[in-house]
């Protein structure tokens, strides 16, 4: 296969996934841990790193499972179950390995790993990869871009919420309320990025 255009396509997809098609701010996937764990920059950082690792690995694993197992057997419709099983098993395995081999890494992101299994952005990325028919190389770019975009969004949210921690927010809006409003404002800001790719 001709690698040049492939890599170019992968890079374009990667950048788009971070800014204009941010899986969190444009597609609103992965909101649950986004709202729940975004109170401090430190914890958001750990969770974001874990999401990057899991999303890149599982999109690749799922690509392999889809194209080499499900498609040849004509079982594409099983992809939902298949992807979730693979994601869950992978996360379990990684948690065991990290806990055994790196207490430091385990401290940083180990506790977040079970939380990520049910993060719908992870499943969403794999499903988008199938719908848009990405090749393997492009999937690498897509997984990386989506997860980095998610990471950026949660880091930005954590930074904002840390700043707001000492401000007086109306009681009804405290917690998830104000977070959703901020997320909406961030989404509006990111729409501004769509103008960047219009030229192409």
């Amino acid at each position: 296969m001709n690698l040049g255009p492939e890599i170019g396509h992968a890079l374009a997809v990667c950048v788009a996934a971070i800014f204009t098609q941010n899986i969190l701010l444009a597609y609103f996937l992965g909101l649950c841990p986004f709202i729940g764990v975004s109170r401090e920059v430190k914890t958001a950082f750990g969770l974001g790193l874990a999401v990057i690792f899991v999303m890149v690995s599982t999109t690749l694993l799922n690509w392999l499972a889809y194209h080499y197992v499900l498609v040849p057997l004509g079982l594409e419709f099983f992809r939902f179950i298949m992807f979730i099983i693979i994601i869950a098993a992978f996360v379990q395995f990684v948690e065991m390995a990290i806990e055994r081999f790196s207490p430091f890494l385990y401290q940083q992101l180990g506790v977040f790993l079970p939380l990520i299994t049910v993060n719908c952005a992870i499943l969403g990325a794999s499903l988008f990869m199938v719908i848009r028919n990405y090749s393997f190389i492009v999937t690498i770019g897509y997984g990386l871009g989506s997860s980095v975009g998610w990471f950026l969004a949660i880091m930005a949210m954590a930074g904002i919420r840390q700043r707001l921690a000492n401000d007086r927010i109306p009681r009804g809006l405290q917690g998830p309320g104000i977070t959703l409003i901020i997320a909406g404002l961030m989404a509006l800001a990111f729409i501004g990025f769509t103008g960047v790719l219009q030229g192409k």
């Binding site: 057997l73 099983f78 379990q92 065991m96 055994r100 430091f104 385990y106 401290q107």
Partner: protein, 367 residues
Amino acid sequence: MIVTTLISVLVVSAIAAALAALLALSEYFLANYGPCKLTINDDKEITVEGGSSVLASLVQEKIFIPSACGGRGTCGLCKLKILEGAGPLLPTEEPFLDKAERESNTRLSCQVKVRNDLELAVPKELLAIQEYTCTCAEIIDLTYDIKLLRFKLIEPATMDYIPGHYVQLLTPPYGKSRQEVYRAYSIASDPADKSIIDLIIRLVPGGICTTWCFEHLKVGDEVRINGPYGDFRLSETDAPIVYIAGGSGMAPIRCMLFHMQNTANKRKAVYFFGANAPDELFMGDEMQQFEKDLADYRYVPVVARPPEDSKWDGETGLVTEAVQRGLKDAPQYEAYLCGSPGMIDAAVEVLKGLGVEEANIFYDKFA
């Protein structure tokens, strides 16, 4: 059509089985931490199979560390000092440990996994906690919704406890309740006989344990309890004592009164017992016997709303109002309270208002 269905089911099952096998294998190799030595208080050494949390490993060795949430990291009761081998502090532990605790190597034992040899410091009181089997010897109705349950210890045959301690009663699965649950009750018995444990229990509508006690427990049934737990106890001073408790809160007070009688304790004591109606006052004759046997003891039952036609001529109103009226020379007193958080908070305010020092107010709040 059928073939496709069969093939697809087979394929998905095969992949799921393969992944499960992979996980089982990796768990066997990766999560296998081998035998680990736990050294407790520089003294006791136990060897456990690694891989579980410190809390689970200790409970399995019959060292009962308190835990209300069952190891989920939400109650903060399982704190222990882990001096060596615990690894870095986990994010799930951080909300529960303040700076002093972190510096002294205090950790949440339900979050720290046993992966290698550990050195622990377990408070002596926790090491004294054991599990006891006992039989239900008597069930006495005190009021329409309060019973006294008398348990005779079998194995171990005696429990060494301090008046004020509580035990956890194990409720077996029954009816709609599928799991065993533990509930805490203060010991109400006479400490002179260490083989008997009395509990005074009030029926909580819909409560798992109290419903079992009231509707299923029979004399002769075998029951498990563990303990003793708690910091609520009499001080060693000579200061006069004011007891305030209502309903089943009498339990630790009754135990303390027996203890005062057994040890010929001469401290002045007054007990304000609150109830809603005169027929909810129980153990009146025991209390009157204490008035005769103890050096300087006064029992003050307080009825909140005596019915129109009752012949009640004692104190009326809330128990806190009676304390307000009746406690003279309050600043000298030590207060021992047992009851619902609402009653205790109100009583603490009244006592502070009367001049009792906050450090001299001791209480056991029902959770």
